[in-house]
């Protein structure tokens, strides 16, 4: 089960408004390599894992990803707080405003709504962990792309933190994969 705590993993405090940047960062909310997909992937795959270390890691990383989803939502929300229709339009994201105004909606940067087709859950421990390793790298690469587009230090500092977490998760998933492969041999 989950216990909600009224804070984010690190404080998210964004001073400036920028609906365009918000529309890019939204991809890590509901995009193909985003935090929602990550949380669903790990929290679903864990049911079929047999090794306690794999189950624990998928549970703990999946839980952390839910917290990251919240942090991304917070960045998007703060970047658009108080911005009106004309501002969204000036920033080139009037189409997002028409469908969602100042709301946070799980979609990719290009506007594709979130779909579970982004993830797999195969009941095959090796296949699932291989997907997880790739997923962490793809998320890391997306954060790299966001950092190339982002010159707001308040946003970049949070994005850099989240990027680093992908690297740590990749390391841990790799360790579990090694453990399982040794058991097979």
């Amino acid at each position: 089960m989950f216990i909600f705590e009224k804070r984010t993993q690190i404080p998210v405090v964004i001073k400036n408004r920028n609906p365009k940047l918000a529309s890019y960062i939204l991809s890590q909310y509901g995009g193909p390599d985003g935090e929602l997909g990550a949380a669903l992937r790990y929290l679903s795959q864990r049911f079929a894992q047999k090794d306690k270390r794999a189950i624990a890691l998928l549970t703990d990383v999946g839980t952390e990803e839910l917290g990251h989803l919240e942090m991304i939502g917070s960045i998007v929300s703060q970047l658009t707080t108080g911005e009106g229709a004309r501002s969204f339009d000036r920033y080139g994201v009037g189409d997002y405003y028409i469908d969602h105004a100042n709301a946070v909606y799980p979609a990719s940067a290009s506007g594709v709504p979130f779909t579970a087709a982004y993830i797999q859950s195969k009941a095959d421990p090796i296949a699932d962990l291989m997907e997880d390793l790739a997923a962490e790298q793809k998320a890391r690469a997306t954060y790299d792309n966001i950092l190339r587009m982002c010159d707001d230090p308040d946003v970049a500092n949070v994005i850099k933190f989240l990027r680093e977490r992908e690297v740590v998760h990749f390391q841990r998933f790799g360790e579990v994969l090694d453990i399982l492969q040794e058991k097979i041999c």
Binding site: I3, F4, E5, K6, R7, T8, Q9, I10, P11, V13, I14, R53, A56, L57, D60, V61, E64, E70, G73, S74, S77, Q78, T81, V168, H169, R172, E175, V176, I179
Partner: protein
Amino acid sequence: MAADMTPRCAALLKKLSEADFFALDLKLYLDTHPDDCEAIRIYREAVKQAKACRQAFEAECYPLRCESAGKDGDWDWLCGKWIK
């Protein structure tokens, strides 16, 4: 936003973030290294520190977990900065 928060509360929150993050990162390490006794000892210490930081924040600022709300007879769960 921390603008809704006194500097004192923002500082207490930062301390909690740091302490709790240390425990969280150790937890992931221990999932794949459950036999590392030294790491388990450090984990227990980190959890103790984070708990103290959480209590310090909640005593001076507002409840972070619902289980800490209502201690003074007011429904203060609504208080403070929600995720925004």
